[in-house]
């Protein structure tokens, strides 16, 4: 079992979510985050004083899935989230040790 963490542009969330649903991935956790990589921030001005704002709003999607689905999921996220501009984001994949469904106590792949 693997976990994908994808940091993407906020306005790509719906497309990515719908795309993953088509792959059979129905559950995910989404967080609003701030961050930067190579994308520059922007300038804000308040009463003549300039401020450099480095952090840019992004969305983080976390999905736990069967290892076999990972390559497809990565490809789909990349396809849906990509604009071609700096700031499209990144995808991270990590291993998951245990998954438990709280309601029933099921464990393992069936609990995903």
């Amino acid at each position: 079992m693997k976990k994908i963490e994808a940091i993407i542009k906020p306005d790509k969330l719906d497309e990515v979510k719908d795309g993953l649903a088509h792959l059979g991935i129905k559950g995910m956790t989404v967080t609003e985050v701030k961050g930067f990589g190579r994308q520059r921030g922007h300038k804000e001005v308040y009463r003549g004083a300039e401020y450099q704002v480095d952090f840019i709003p992004k969305v983080k999607i976390e999905v736990v899935l069967d290892s076999e689905l990972v390559p497809q999921a990565i490809g789909l996220i990349q396809e849906k989230a990509r604009t071609g501009q700096i700031g499209d984001g990144k995808i991270f994949v990590m291993s998951v040790e245990t998954v438990v469904r709280i309601r029933t106590g099921e464990m393992g792949k069936g609990a995903i």
Partner: protein, 406 residues
């Protein structure tokens, strides 16, 4: 007594009252979100504190029977003698109580203005004590000198229709003393203190503009042509100042901002206040257009000088009020108000000097008295919150509350 005048003054009093919660919103939006309630409270609670102070001794000190031109007596303590009939001395066509109520709203908003200078770092207990002392020892005497019957600045011929010196210069210069004595916010210069809710600030500016019609037009103390003049020039000055401010920004920083438009509007309202019953519409255009230049430069100068007047009370009220008071010495015309005087452009250069004196007296008196009061309060209670409290925010540390629980 005149029912039209009475209705107008009571209504104007309500308009001026609304300026205090309006100011709370104007300031609140510019603070950081952990300090929203603390900032709102510093304006809002004035309605409580100053109302009681005014009723008990403030009105008597400011407008009561004169003693040596310096202060009113205590004959009207607890509003004794202030009844439903007209005053013998003030506003002959309305109940004395209406005049008192109108003045009460001015007394309320003036100390609230100062709070912008020390936003986000003053202890609430110190703030309450400071406010009571300031109202008693600075506002009341100053109001007496300018507006009280027999007050020496009024007798000298200083023109201040609705409070350029009494309200704006006094609070602006007191704010300077406060910013210097209380010191900068932690993180000033390194952290970005970005306004957390500019929609709130713009809403506040709108309410201030609305209420200012009561502030200036109501100061005619009658429902007449002079009130209409004050209403109109107030509106014009605010409008031109807002446009002027964003024009300066557009040229200087590349973009017009909503904070600039709101700040410009308020600066215009400040500047027209002393002259609203003495100058005409074209003068208002010029006064409004130029106040933004003065205030914008003042704010840039603040950054260079390095004092932390957090919400620009000095820049907007202090400097804007000063420009307005001096401009009154330029543009005042007896054609508008026969009870006033002519200014420099109407053949009387002496008025400008009189205005300058009144401004200087206000600067010095407000700065010195405020400094003394702050030192005393610091000894008794301590002015500033602790570093940890400042970090956590005023809402939690001073009020056990959170402004936003989303």
């Amino acid at each position: 007594m005149n029912t039209g005048d009475t209705a107008f003054i009571l209504f104007s009093s309500a308009l001026v009252m609304l300026m205090t919660p309006g100011l709370a919103l104007f300031y609140g939006g510019m603070a950081r979100n952990k300090n929203i309630l603390g900032t709102l409270m510093q304006s809002f609670i004035m309605l409580g504190i100053i109302t009681v102070e005014w009723v008990l001794w403030g009105y008597s000190m400011a407008f009561g029977p004169d003693h040596a031109g310096i202060i009113g007596g205590l004959e009207w303590l607890g509003l004794r003698g202030v009844g439903m009939g007209p005053s013998a001395v003030y506003a002959p066509t309305i109940p004395h109580m209406a005049f008192m109520a109108f003045q009460c709203m001015f007394a309320i908003i003036t100390p609230a203005l100062i709070s912008g200078a020390f936003a986000e770092r003053m202890k609430f207990s110190a703030f309450v004590l400071f406010t009571l002392l300031w109202a008693t020892l600075v506002y009341n005497p100053l109001a007496h000198w300018v507006w009280g019957a027999g007050g020496w600045l009024g007798r000298m011929g200083a023109l201040d229709f609705a409070g350029g010196t009494v309200v704006h210069i006094s609070s602006g210069i007191s704010a300077l003393a406060a910013a210097l004595i209380i010191g900068r916010r932690r993180g000033y210069g390194t952290e970005a203190f970005i306004p957390h809710n500019l929609p709130m600030t713009v809403t506040g500016a709108g309410l201030l503009w609305f209420g200012w019609f009561g502030f200036n037009a109501g100061s005619a103390l009658a429902c007449n042509g002079l009130a209409a003049n004050a209403f109109v020039v107030t509106h014009i000055a605010s409008a031109t100042a807002a446009l002027s401010w964003i024009t300066i920004e557009w040229l200087h920083r590349g973009r017009p901002t909503t904070l600039g438009a709101a700040s410009g509007a308020v600066a215009g309202l400040v500047a027209i206040t002393p002259g609203s019953g003495f100058v005409g519409p074209l003068a208002a255009l010029i006064i409004g257009a130029l106040v933004s230049v003065v205030c914008y430069c003042g704010i840039l100068l603040k950054s260079k000088l390095g004092y932390d007047d957090s919400l620009d009370v000095v820049g907007i009220h202090g400097l804007g009020g000063t420009w307005g008071a001096l401009a009154t010495g330029l543009f005042a015309s007896r054609l508008i108000n026969p009870n006033g005087a002519n200014g420099l452009f109407f053949g009387n250069p002496g008025q400008l000097w009189t205005q300058f004196l009144a401004v200087a007296v206000t600067w010095i008196f407000a700065f010195v008295m405020t400094s003394i009061i702050l030192k005393v309060v610091d000894l008794v209670v301590g002015l500033r919150v602790t570093d940890e409290e400042e970090e956590r925010g005023l809402d939690i540390s001073q009020h056990n509350e959170t402004g936003y629980s989303f």
